[in-house]
Symmetry: C2
């Protein structure tokens, strides 16, 4: 039975930009698992109601509904133990959680403030009011104000990447010589920006940009081929 | 042949407060390796000259001089493979590096700004001018100014711990059910503060404080018994 993933889409059904959905796409590819990625919009809560919550990614595997990218990764590791490990063992799995929290708490808010208005511009009409309302409440400002002045603020964003930068400067991937789930967790944030905005969040020559190129090359260029911007 | 560690000390020879030396003490204890911890002051550069640089920890193992806490950890793992692993495998070792960079770049500067004047107060007379000069150059301000207003700034410091907090709230240690080198890396920063300052950097009830208690309990209370403050 084919795995199904509910995958955030924009006005164009093939613009798939959710950072957390990209974690799942990369994890599925790492495991060599095919999946149907079903386009989903923010306001289609009823379509994923069996998952017990209202956000994507949602995975349906063998009739089981699973929400939350971290829970999905753990499920894939447990359900397909004969396939290449996403974590490289218990220690790798435990430490991936720290990387994941860092991405959620430092990286995602940083990226959001650089591209949130660009996200809104790409949304399906049905999603635009919902997105604006929920995000403006979260930021306490209009989307236009949040994204304004990003040419200056991107400098601070790039500085916040320094722990990542030092790591991938000294080794090819966060996971070491080969990518692991921690790489996909962090990559999701960069792919989010790349799929939704022509704003250049990384400078050429940044070791993080070189790592991102390695990530874009994985799985026959899976992420590189996705609809997005060449930045 | 007994392992020797050059270990930063204050005016009192038994006040050992270096965060990076604590990484090494905990790593040695994890491996069940005994070591002579030789008190060392900032200005005793010649004592560690064979290491090719001027900072501690420096490990001398079987006549080999090794500097840098990360290099020392890798050495201990490679030289004593039959003893309990510090990393739990290659993935754990690779991901520990990210945790280590986060500690160096986020945690250490945050702690330093809360206790730097307290460090100076505990130093041997011979070290005081050196420490003040190098740190005031680094911070671009007097030690008094850097540490001032810490009651307000500690709030932001505690917020910066959120990736750590979420991780050790959901599992006992960064390494999972048992501590790994990544735990010692992060713990070093808290032990630094505890050994040198009566300033309370963690609130009671913080999951990070509960994790720190678990760390203080390890190895028969090795870190808890160290000369410091009960905060």
């Amino acid at each position: 039975m084919t795995i199904r993933v509910y995958d955030l889409a924009g006005a164009e059904a093939d613009r798939r930009f959710s950072p957390n959905c990209w974690r799942t796409h990369m994890a599925l590819a790492h495991k060599g698992l095919a999946a149907d990625a079903v386009p989903w919009r923010f306001t289609e809560k009823e379509a994923i109601a069996p998952s017990g919550q209202g956000r994507v990614p949602v995975l349906v595997d063998d009739g089981k509904w699973i929400a939350d990218s971290s829970v999905i990764a753990d499920h894939l590791e447990n359900a397909y133990p004969e396939r290449k490990s996403l974590f490289g063992g218990a220690a790798g799995q435990a430490l991936s959680r720290f990387v994941s929290h860092w991405a959620d708490l430092v990286l995602h808010p940083g990226v959001a403030r650089l591209v949130v208005l660009d996200i809104w511009r790409h949304l399906a009409e049905q999603d635009k009011a919902y997105f604006r309302k929920t995000r403006e409440e979260r930021f306490g400002a209009t989307l236009e104000t949040v994204q304004a002045d990003r040419d200056r603020r991107v400098i601070q964003f790039r500085q916040s990447l320094e722990p990542l930068r030092r790591t991938v400067h000294a080794q090819p991937f966060l996971g070491g010589d080969a990518p692991l789930y921690a790489d996909y967790v962090v990559f999701g944030a960069f792919q989010w920006a790349r799929c939704i905005s022509d704003f250049r969040i990384l400078e050429t020559g940044d070791p993080v940009a070189a790592w991102r190129e390695r990530m874009l090359d994985l799985f026959d260029g899976l992420a590189r081929k996705a609809k997005g911007y060449q930045v």
